[in-house]
Symmetry: none
Subunit: 194 residues, 4 copies
DNA sequence: TATGAATGAGTTTTCATTCAT
DNA sequence: GATGAATGAAAACTCATTCAT
C-alpha cells in the first residue's frame, strides 16, 4: 500500500515549487524535482512534455486556483471598490500563506527565458481580464470616473500589487503583507475615483 | 582616471546592449559581445571581472545617466506634482528613444539569475530614492497628503511606470509611450493627493 | 508446438519490419512495434527475450523463408549454372516483392550493434552454405573450374548480390531488380568457368 | 615544450580510429576520444562541428589517402587488368597494414545511423569513380568486353573486395589478405574478359 | 595591453525492461 | 496470458574564463 494519495501530476508540481523556492531556479534540476516528488526522473516525462512544461503547468495550475479563489470572493461584493479591495486582500493573503509559492512566482520564475515568460504572460491574462472587468463595472456604475483609461489603470493595479509583493518577498517577507491591502487599495482607488 | 573613462569600457557595454537586445539574454555569449565590440574575448576581462560584471556595469552606467538626466530636469520644477510628471515623462522618453535599451532593461536583463538581479536592485535604489525625495518634498509642502505611506507610494510609482513600459515593449513598442505620461501621472497623483 | 506457431509471434515480427522500414532503425522503439502489432509493450516480452531478440528472430524468420524458397526452386535445376541463376533470380525477386523487407535487411538492420550483426551473420551462414554447395557441385561435375577457391567465390557471389541489392535500395528501388539477374549471373559465372 | 607536432585535427581523428577500433562504435564517447587525443572535451568542438563530423571527417581523410595511394600506383600501369590488380592489391595492403582502420571501416562505422552512412557513401563515390574509369578504359582498349555493364561490374568489384575484407576482419585478420589479391583479381577479370 | 586557443564542468531526456495487477 | 505505469542509467555539447605569447 502506497501512501501516494495525490495524483502524480500535482505531486510533481508541488515538488517543483518546493525545490525552486529552496534551491533557486537555476539549481532546480529535473532530478531534484523528481527526488522531492518521490518518483523516478523518467516518471516526470510521463506527465510533462519537458522541463519547461513543468514550470508553465505549475504557473497555470497555481494561477488558476488564484483566480478561482479571487473570483469566488468577489462575487459576494457589491461595489467595484469592494471588489478591488477583495482582490488585493486575497492576492496578498494567498501569497502570504504560501511562502514557497511567493518566492517562486515573484523571484525565481522570472529568471526563466523569454519564451517561457511569454507563456506565463498568457496565463496572467486571465488575471488581468479579471481586473479589467472590475474596472469596467465600476465605470458603468459611475463609481469610477468615466474617462478612466482601463488599460493604464489595470497596469497600475497589477504593477503596484506586483511591486509590493516583490518588495515584500525581497525583504524576506519580514512584515505582514495582507495588512497593507487597505492602504494599497486606498492609493489606487483615489486615483481612479470619480 | 578610471578605466571607465577609456573608450573600450564603454565600447564593450554598448556592444553588450546591442547583442542582448538583438539576440536575447541567453544568446549573448561573451564571445559575441567581444566580436560586436571589435575586441578579443580575453580583452573583455581586462575591463570587467566577469560576465556578470558587464551586465551590472551596463545597468549601473545606463541607470546612472537615467537618474542624472531626470535629476537635471527635475531641478527646474517647483512642485512635487511637476517633478513627478517630469520623472515619468523623462523615464518614458529615454526608453522610447533607445529601443535596444528598453528591450534590455525591461525584458532581457530580468532573465538573469537572482544574484545579479539583487545587484541590479541596488542600483535601482538610487532611482527609488529620487522618487522618495519627490514624495517627501510633496508631503512637506502639503501638496501630498500627510499620511501618505511613502514606501507604498514609491512602489506604486515604480510598479506602475515599470509595468507600463514593459507592456509597451512586449507590444513591440507599437504605440507612443511618452504620450501616456500625463495620464499615468494623473492616475498616480490623484491617489496621493491631499 | 512452439510459440513461433502462434499468431502474436509473427504479428510482432511483421510489425517490426513495418516500423523499422518506415521509421528507421533508431526510431523503432519497442513501444512503437508493440503499438503497430496491437499489443501492450509488456506483451512483447512474453514472446521475445529482449529487443535484440526481436531483430534476430525477424532476420532468422525471413532468412529462413528466403533459403527455403531458394532451395525449393533450385531442386528442379540440373546444372550449377542454372542453380546459381535461380538463386540470384529468387534473391532479387523476393526482395523486389517486399520493399519493406528490402529496406530493413539492406539498410536498417546494418545499423545494429556489432553483437547483433555477428548473430545475423550466423543466420547468414545457412545462405552461404547453400552457395557453397552449389559451387562444390559445379566443381564436382566439371562445370566450374577445378581450382576455384570456393570461399573466395562465395564471397564474390554474396558480395556482388548484396552490393547490387543495396545499390538498388539506396536508389529508391527505381529500376527493376530481377531484370539484372542474368547479367549478374553472367559476370559471375564467367569468372568461375572452366 | 609540448610534443604535439601533429595538428590537433589529425590528432583527434587518429584518436577516434583507435578508440572506435578498440572500444567499438557505441562505446566511443566523445570524452574517450578527447582523452585518447590528449585534449579537453571542448577542444574537439573547435575542430569538428559535432560527433558525426568527426566520423565523416575520419572517413573522408582516410579514404582520401586511400584513393590517392591507389591512383598513384595505378598511373604506372598500362592495362586495365594490371590497374585492377593494383587496385585490389593496394586496397588489401593498406587495410592489412592498419588493423585499426580495417576494423573501423569494415565493422564499426557501419553501425552508424543512415544519415551518416549516406554521407560516407558520398565519399565512397570517389573510389567507385576510380573503378569505373579503369573499367571504361579497359572497354576502350578492347581488353574488357564491349557489352560490359559498367555499373554492375563496379558493384561486383566493390562488393567482392568489400566482402572479402569484411570476412577477413571478422575472422580476426587471421590469414594474409594481400595474398588473396591475385585470386580475387582472376575471378573478377575472367568475368569481365573479352 | 591585447590576443584567442584551450579548458572542463554540468544537465535534460530517452527508452528497454520490469512487475503488480 | 496481458497490461502499461514506472524505472533510472547514460552522453553530447556549451561557454565563461584563463594564460602563454
Amino acid at each position: 500500500m502506497k501512501q501516494q494519495q495525490k495524483p502524480k501530476y500535482k505531486q510533481i508540481i508541488d515538488a517543483a515549487v518546493i525545490v525552486i523556492a529552496e534551491k533557486g531556479y537555476h539549481q532546480s534540476q529535473v532530478s531534484k524535482i523528481a527526488k522531492q516528488a518521490g518518483v523516478a526522473d523518467g516518471t516526470i516525462y510521463l506527465y510533462f512534455k519537458n522541463k519547461e512544461d513543468i514550470l508553465i503547468s505549475l504557473f497555470r495550475e497555481k494561477m488558476g486556483l488564484f483566480i478561482e479563489k479571487i473570483e469566488e470572493e468577489i462575487k459576494g461584493k457589491e461595489t467595484a471598490k469592494e471588489k478591488l479591495l477583495t482582490l488585493i486582500e486575497k492576492h496578498f493573503s494567498i501569497l502570504a500563506e504560501d511562502h514557497h509559492l511567493a518566492i517562486v512566482t515573484q523571484l525565481e520564475l522570472r529568471q526563466s527565458n523569454l519564451e517561457l515568460r511569454l507563456k506565463i504572460n498568457e496565463v496572467l491574462k486571465g488575471y488581468l481580464l479579471l481586473v479589467d472587468s472590475i474596472l469596467h463595472a465600476g465605470i458603468e456604475t459611475g463609481e469610477l470616473r468615466e474617462d478612466l483609461d482601463v488599460r493604464l489603470a489595470r497596469q497600475m493595479v497589477f504593477g503596484t500589487i506586483d511591486e509590493t509583493v516583490t518588495s515584500w518577498v525581497m525583504n524576506d517577507q519580514k512584515y505582514d503583507l495582507p495588512t497593507l491591502a487597505p492602504k494599497v487599495h486606498n492609493l489606487l482607488i483615489n486615483g481612479f475615483g470619480a
